[in-house]
Amino acid sequence: MLGRLKKNVLLTPFVSLADGSYLTHIYQDQDHRTGASMLVRVISYTFTDARIPGAGEQVSRLVTTLLDPFLFPAKELAVLFPERWHVELVIGEPRTVLRLSARTLRSLTPQGVIQELSALLLAHTLLRTLMLQAATQQGIAPTALSLTETIRILDESVLPLGMVSAARRHTMVLALLDEIGQQRLPKQRVRIQARVVKRTHSRYGRKKPEHGLAPPLELDLDFHQILALVT
């Protein structure tokens, strides 16, 4: 397990290790140092490139349960940690690629929401499994393949695959997997971005509880029938 520590957590080094990290105990109740405790290794690092804001001053601390400094060198662990953003990418994939502009899910009941979420995660899982198969065929990392292109190839293949016989279908599937494997993403570079978003600005007032959550008033009439001139 490898995680980042919050800045306000105080730790006292217990044993210093050869690769620059140290061992310490962390407790369930860290402020009072009581409760169940665990022996962990702490690694501190900072950035060196001057272009990056906070380089040299901002120290980030990682805590890990991998205690052996020779099997798991500290520098390598520190290099590995930023790859945590893979999870953010994966969370973003169903959202941006598979749902585009819809603000919410579409189900009106909790059961429907759960059904829809399961289907969404299933769709993502199935697509990624497909990409894994394609990548294994080519011998490359699955993260190098493009999800949007996979969807496009899938879409284009639905009609032809439905029309052919079973034998031909098998060859076609292999060919399609090959094509998916060709869609490579460019090499990922180091990206550093502050965690902020642009705020959308709207001229209109915000909906408040007193505005009520009822649907708008809809009358099955023409304006002829409800308008009257005032003299």
Binding site: R84, T104, T109, V113, L127, A141
Partner: protein, 650 residues
């Protein structure tokens, strides 16, 4: 199995089912065995998540009657209440109910109303075998209106109800059903039918109504004095035969008519003393002027005496134009009685198909083995259906809706006939049949083969879904366009094509098969069909499917997936906005409870565990509390593999 309306479970109904079952004294599984449903279905009934189907509810009620669980003397009321509460689409069959209660145990003798003349007991007509009886579908609203009128009449406010509709739409049918119902409530029913010739035969419907009633009366003189009977004998000469010493009716031409009217009025009044009266006159548009005059007179008399009368009239909407004579007469009548119009609309497509299916189910074709029903020869099933259509047409008296089926929906019903599986056998045997699995149906006819998700079907074969369906016992009797397998694929495809509408996604999936098979229906299901079926499918199946498909799949050879022998995983929490409905708000809170700064929509919270090398989601857990990621990760971490190395937010 039907599901309850969209939204909250119907707890009241569930409670009712629970008490019924405990009174019967069976476990959920036991009850399921007896009725031929799964235990899961009983669980859903008692949880208020679904309502039993007609057959099952009937079986349950029969069981209850057999074991005397309903309150003595009031079973019919209880059963009716139960039927109402369970939101069945078909009205409770009174004859079936009476038959059931009659055979159950001897009923205590009802105290007789009135005096010595024995009232003819209500006989339950036995249905002639082999005859098609179509259930009364889609007329619940009209029926309840009539019930209201009847109840008002019972209070002493004479009512008139006018059933208006096009020719053949089912007015007479509805009237007859209602009259049968009224009979079981103890009302006196007289019915007369005006026919086309009747315009030249004055008082013909009246004679038809009163004549038989007087015949079966033991002592007509109890009802009317001899004087008035004499007047009636103008219309009913058989009265003279029974009582030869009746005085002659008056010969005075001026007063003859009014005396006749008065006689009829007094007769009916005498009848209403004993029981509320329902007077049914069919096809008013053919009624002669004399009878209409009589009706006006009667109306005036009833309103004066506050009799307990319900006058039920059926009329064709063509005959009731704004300037027609009939409309004028009726408005006159409306001055004395309160006349309410009940207009009958044509049945919707679903109701028509329901009607047809109910009839087909009841018909019990002996030759329909599954392979035959799944007709390989299209010609054969076609003739079967057209023959059926003819029979239906004749039996239901030229039912307009049947005509619609034959004209417009022929393709739809032909396809349905073809995939009609063993449901009739299921009902017939009564006990738990082997549930027809999709593999028992002929290869060519599998509806789910019509859908193709292309490559995704390589990764998620339909066998997997079918296995889960068997585990959850969610098979249905009938093959449908939107069966569970199709629905599951469609739900997944909805997310693969986010910009495409629901129906278009379905069309996309079917497009491949449509190109070379000609039994794929042209019509895409309507939106509400998708919502309905989605609700039916529920969420457990998909959750389980996800659990089965998800998981870390990288090997040591996959570049970037492992590090020093450890699998790289990553964990984080996320939120998804859901639509702002009351039930969603209840289940998924906003980001905070503070109304000023909360999220615009309620949010569903997930904790997601991801494999970094492949970007596969290994596990996803729902969490309820809006907290930071660290607190949520504990339960998810428990599910991790040994030796896996995740990077977490601390």
């Amino acid at each position: 199995m039907k599901t309850s309306s969209y939204g909250e479970p119907d707890y009241a109904f569930g409670q009712r089912m629970l008490t019924l079952r405990t009174q019967i004294g069976l476990t959920q599984a036991g009850l399921g065995e007896r009725l031929g449903v799964s235990r899961r279905a009983v669980v859903k009934w008692e949880g208020g998540l679904s309502y039993p189907s007609v057959g099952h509810l009937q079986a349950l009620i029969a069981l209850g009657v057999e074991l005397h669980v309903f309150a003595a003397g009031g079973e019919a009321e209880e059963i009716r209440a139960l039927w109402r509460v369970s939101h069945q689409k078909v009205l409770l069959d009174e004859q079936w109910l009476q038959g059931l209660l009659a055979t159950g145990r001897p009923r205590p003798p009802q105290p007789r109303r009135g005096s010595s003349p024995a009232r003819p007991s209500t006989t339950v007509e036995s249905r002639p075998p082999g005859q098609l009886v179509a259930p009364l579908v889609g007329r619940a609203a009209a029926f309840s209106q009539l019930v209201d009128r009847y109840q008002q009449a019972q209070q002493g406010q004479p009512q008139a109800a006018l059933l208006v509709g096009e020719a053949g739409i089912g007015k007479t049918r509805l009237a007859r059903e209602f009259v049968a119902w009224a009979r079981t409530r103890g009302a006196e029913v007289l019915s007369g039918h005006a026919f086309e010739l009747g315009g030249r035969l004055p008082y013909q419907p009246l004679v038809e109504a009163i004549g038989p009633r007087l015949e079966e009366e033991n002592a007509p003189e109890d009802l009317l004095s001899d004087l008035w009977l004499a007047e009636l004998s103008r219309l009913l000469p058989e009265l003279r035969v029974r009582s030869p010493d009746l005085p002659a009716p008056t010969q005075d031409e001026l007063t003859a008519k009014i005396r006749l009217f008065e006689a009829v009025a007094r007769l009916l009044e005498a009848l209403t003393q004993r029981a509320p009266l329902v007077l049914l006159f069919d096809d008013l548009h053919w009624m002669d002027g004399a009878s209409l005059d009589l009706l006006r007179y009667l109306g005036h008399d009833w309103s004066r005496q506050s009799s307990r009368v319900l006058l039920l009239l059926t009329v064709r909407s063509e005959g009731l134009g704004p300037q027609s004579q009939l409309a004028v007469e009726l408005s006159d009548l409306g001055r004395d009685l309160s006349v309410s119009q009940v207009s009958l609309q044509p049945l919707s497509q679903t109701e028509t198909i329901q009607l047809l299916e109910a009839v087909v189910g009841a018909r019990e074709p002996g030759e329909a083995s599954p392979s035959r029903a799944v007709a390989a020869q299209p010609g054969e099933s076609e003739t079967k259906l057209s023959g059926l259509g003819d029979i239906l047409f004749a039996q239901t008296g030229g039912h307009r809706n049947t005509v619609q089926i034959r004209r417009k929906e022929r393709n739809e019903t032909r396809r349905r006939m073809r995939w009609h599986t063993r449901s009739h056998q299921h009902h017939e045997k009564g006990n738990r049949l082997m549930i027809p699995t999709i593999r028992q149906i002929q290869e060519e006819s599998k509806v789910c083969q019509q859908i193709d998700l292309g490559l995704l079907q390589e990764v998620l074969p339909s066998a997997k879904i079918e296995d889960l369906l068997e585990t959850y016992q969610m098979w249905e009797d009938r093959e449908r366009k939107l069966n569970m397998v199709v629905l599951t694929y469609w739900l997944i495809a909805l997310h693969v094509y986010p910009r495409v509408s629901m129906r278009a996604v379905y069309a996309k999936l079917v497009s491949g098969q449509r190109a070379w098979r000609d039994d794929v229906p042209q019509q895409t299901p309507v939106k509400s069909a998708f919502s309905y079926r989605r609700e039916h499918l529920g969420s457990e199946l998909l959750e389980e499917l996800f659990v089965q498909c998800a998981g870390p799949k990288a090997t040591e050879q996959t570049p970037g997936a492992f590090w020093h022998g450890l699998r790289r995983l990553s964990i984080d929490g996320t939120v998804e906005s859901v639509p702002d409905t009351p039930s969603n708000r209840e289940a998924f809170r906003y980001s905070t409870d503070d109304a000023e700064s909360q999220s615009p929509f309620p949010q569903a919270r997930l904790v997601v565990l991801v494999e970094c090398g492949t970007h596969l989601i290994c596990d996803a857990e729902r969490s309820r509390v809006p907290t930071r990621g660290s607190q949520q990760s504990a339960p998810a971490l428990a599910a991790m593999e040994v030796g896996a190395e995740p990077a977490a937010v601390g």
